[in-house]
Amino acid sequence: MTQELSLWALVIGATIPVKMVMLILLGASVMSWVMIVQRGIYLRKASSELKEFENTFWSGVDLNRLFSDGGGRAKNLPEGRIGGVEGVFRAGFREFNRLNQQAGVDPEAIVEGTERAMRIALSREEEKLNTHLPFLASVASVSPYIGLFGTVWGIMQSFRGLAMVQQATLAVVAPGISEALIATAMGLFAAIPAVLAYNRFAANAEGLQSAYETFAEEFSSILHRRVHSSQSEA
């Protein structure tokens, strides 16, 4: 093994600080990949749900039925609540109905209350969309530095070893430097997917968020119209 100088032998032969750096980077890489897959699944699901819900919403379905259907589905979910764009819709519609049933409520107040409820739901959705993204961002930005630290430390050690040797040959320093460079390689290995995933997921989350907001605006304008028409009828 020492003759072949395989990568595994280098990892095993590394000094303790370098080993710790490698361990941290391995952990960061594992975690970031877990996040990447989880985020990928979540965001894909959220965008497909958005498309589906918007299709049904604008197909001219009765809003009361849509709400009650959603309520039936929500009971089967573990959280007991539907997320995504439908969650925004449900929060707004529930508040609207509650306020509308109370007598003598100002139509402006009804619309305002509905908007507030939807804003709360929106911010909750935003939070959900952006979970783990800061983690990916920090892995992306910090792990190259951690790797570099390991490398610098390893090279320092190998040069210190070189100072004690009478005849300095390349063979004395080369394994140490090679071993140290593994840390940088690992840092980059952790960082590159994290950077890519962060950029992609941040863009996706932003897009979804603006789609939710647009929907909320449109929905509130529909409710506004409905309040005023019912008020004028009455």
Binding site: V11, V30, V37, Q38, I41, P78
Partner: protein, 265 residues
Amino acid sequence: MDKWLSYSAGVCFSAVLHGVLLLVLIVGWQGEPELRKIVRPQYIEATLLEIKPKARPVPQTKAPIKPAQDRAEKQRKEQELKQQRIQEQARLEKKSRATAAKAKAAKDKAVKDKAAKDKAAKDKAAKDKVAKEKLAQQNKLREDQLLAAMDEEQAFLDSEEDAQLIGSYSSYINDRVSNNWSRPSSARRGMIVELAIQLVPTGRVVSVTIVKSSGNEAFDYSAERAVRKVDRFEKIAELAKQDLALFDREFRSFLLVFNPKDLRQ
């Protein structure tokens, strides 16, 4: 439910990915160094090609010398054999004469015996003298031959060395001439003029004559003027100082083939 599913999928994927990575690290992926080995022999071939032309002249140098040495040796052997034969003959003759003298002595007794003895002594002296002379001659001949062979070898080595020297000097001459040459407008590619140039040991040009015209007078004249303009070849002067014999042989008077594209002596 959904959340856990997505998380567990993430954990599985991550674990598999890093497991594969570790496996690759442990097992390693070799095979690249073997590819490099195939490339190397080409370099070796290239170096071999360079050696070949150098190696070729060596047998050539030995070839002419060896026969000369062989010849010299053969001749020497033959002469030795001849000498031995002559000596033997002399001895035989001496013996026969001695026996004859004895017979005569038995017949003619003391008077004739003395005469015979004198004659034998005279004969012997004469024969010895002849043999000695011959031996000396042969020795001289052998020495001469040996010297000639050595001279020949030395001359060959010198000529090889000289050939390089001459080459470098002739290219120097070409450079000087072509640097001083001003191209006439009528000069065309492929025009060649041969100039006979005479130098003195100081490197100065004594005479320039056109031996073979290019067919274009202006071109011929421009070449001649270029040589005159050079006036003095400094390096040739240095050469003459070092090796006057070589200068006499090669540069005292020589032909310059003036070819604007490719100048050669």
